[in-house]
């Protein structure tokens, strides 16, 4: 094989790869991409290898393995060699959720996180979570723990619709 080093196509392959990675949906909340969620931290080339850095959401989130596998599938389909690196520090926070991610969540019927993760009191009341359906601010917490690790269950006092809340983390 000829050893012609050609930089330009590599860059293009990387652009394509980045686009493909940016489209990967969250396995539990498919309206969100891993990028919206902030789980996909970076895509870099180190020593001729693509390194995709990911940060897990919750310690025991069962979707993490599915996410990493989806990223590996994209890497395997690319002509560039690559691997996934998991980092815990700094820890993932809902503050990393993109603006478009928050909007998509709300349109999907999941209330996006209210406020910042570190500014809530330990045992006090939660901030009001607006209903994603009718926008009423009169809602109540049904359970701190919902259908997935990242969600709590709320109900609207006005339209009575129960809804998921993507809780601050």
């Amino acid at each position: 094989m000829a050893t012609v080093v050609c930089k330009q196509p590599m860059v293009d392959e990387l652009t394509i790869l980045k686009e493909r990675l940016a489209e990967l949906p969250d396995p539990e909340i498919p309206v969100l991409t891993l990028q919206d969620l902030g789980v996909l931290r970076s895509v870099e080339v180190k020593d001729g290898e693509v390194v995709v850095t990911m940060t897990p959401t919750y310690s025991g989130c069962p979707a993490m393995d599915a996410m990493a596998n989806a990223v590996r599938d994209v890497l395997n389909a690319s002509p560039m060699p690559g691997r996934v690196e998991t980092v815990f520090d700094p820890p993932w926070t809902t503050d990393w959720l993109s603006e478009s991610g928050r909007r998509k969540l709300e349109e999907y019927g999941i209330a996006p996180p209210v406020g910042s993760s570190d500014k809530r009191s330990l045992l006090g009341e939660d901030a009001a979570v607006p209903c994603p359906r009718c926008r009423s601010k009169s809602t109540r917490l049904i359970s701190q723990f919902g259908s997935t690790a990242c969600k709590a269950l709320y109900q609207c006092n006005d339209c009575l619709e129960p809804f998921d809340y993507f809780k601050c983390h």
């Binding site: 520090d89 820890p91 993760s117 045992l123 359970s143 701190q144 723990f145």
Partner: protein, 254 residues
């Protein structure tokens, strides 16, 4: 200066991993048995946080030990005497009041503990603590809410939670013991001194129990021994269930 602390570090990661694994397993026993659906999901979620934390810590312990043991081998192939968890984590789930009383005592400890561990010089432990702290804050809100509701509820719920607190109380002291192994790691800025966290714990417990119109138990007994492998008889039964598949079919994988 370079001290070989790998033996201590292995032991420490194992302890924290075993705490999370045994308590997570106890909570997972509620799956499909909780009083109502939302609570079933809540206990399952908390169990998942704890088992996830256990995986990270046991994986790290295996790497530090450098003897080729994976997180699974550490979880499934050690006998009770080799487990290093706090006794409070292995106690049977009992009834719902027993589960919530134990959970409150542990959660109220884990909040200040993991807050402090995020400052560890060991980047892996600090990172794991950074994830854990966000989760334990939710756990504490959950257990504190239930202890309050049970204590300030009916005569029966009050009697049950008061009895449960009495029964578990003497197991709390072990959380505040720093032995020589952990002390060496504290001196290196890796582990957290446990005794000073008692004041914050006392305050949280006092706040919750007074909301619950309950009094703090004045039990004068305490039981310890988990860190040296001296467990209650309950751990063997827990492990029999947890480890059954790997013991019956060694090396089986999904």
């Amino acid at each position: 200066m370079s001290v070989d602390n790998s033996q201590d570090l292995f032991e420490f990661a194992l302890r924290l991993g075993d705490d999370a694994l045994t308590l997570g397993h106890r909570l997972s026993e509620w799956t499909a048995h909780a009083p109502f659906l939302e609570e079933d999901i809540a206990l399952g979620n908390i169990a998942l946080d704890l088992v996830g934390r256990a995986r990270l810590l046991l994986d790290y312990a295996g790497k530090v030990e450098d003897a080729g043991r994976s997180e699974d081998q550490l979880a499934y192939l050690r006998d009770a005497r080799e487990y290093r968890n706090l006794l409070i984590c292995e106690l049977p789930r009992g009834d719902f009041a027993d589960t919530m009383a134990r959970q409150l005592l542990v959660d109220a400890f884990e909040v200040p503990y993991f807050e402090a561990l995020t400052k560890s010089n060991d980047r892996t432990l600090a990172g794991i603590a950074g994830k854990a702290i966000k989760e334990v804050r939710y756990h504490l809100r959950h257990s504190a809410g239930w202890v309050t509701r049970l204590g300030d509820g009916t005569d029966e719920s009050r009697e049950k939670i008061a009895g449960a607190l009495e029964r578990v109380w003497g197991y709390a002291a072990e959380m505040f013991e720093t032995d020589a192994t952990e002390q060496r790691l504290v001196d290196q800025g890796i582990a957290v001194q446990r005794e000073p966290l008692k004041a914050a714990w006392d305050e949280t417990i006092q706040t919750v129990l007074s909301q619950a119109t309950l009094t703090v138990p004045d039990a004068d007994w305490q039981v310890t021994g988990g860190r040296t492998g001296d467990h209650t008889e309950h751990l063997g039964f827990l492990l029999a269930e947890l480890q059954f598949v790997q013991r019956a079919y060694p090396g089986l994988s999904w």
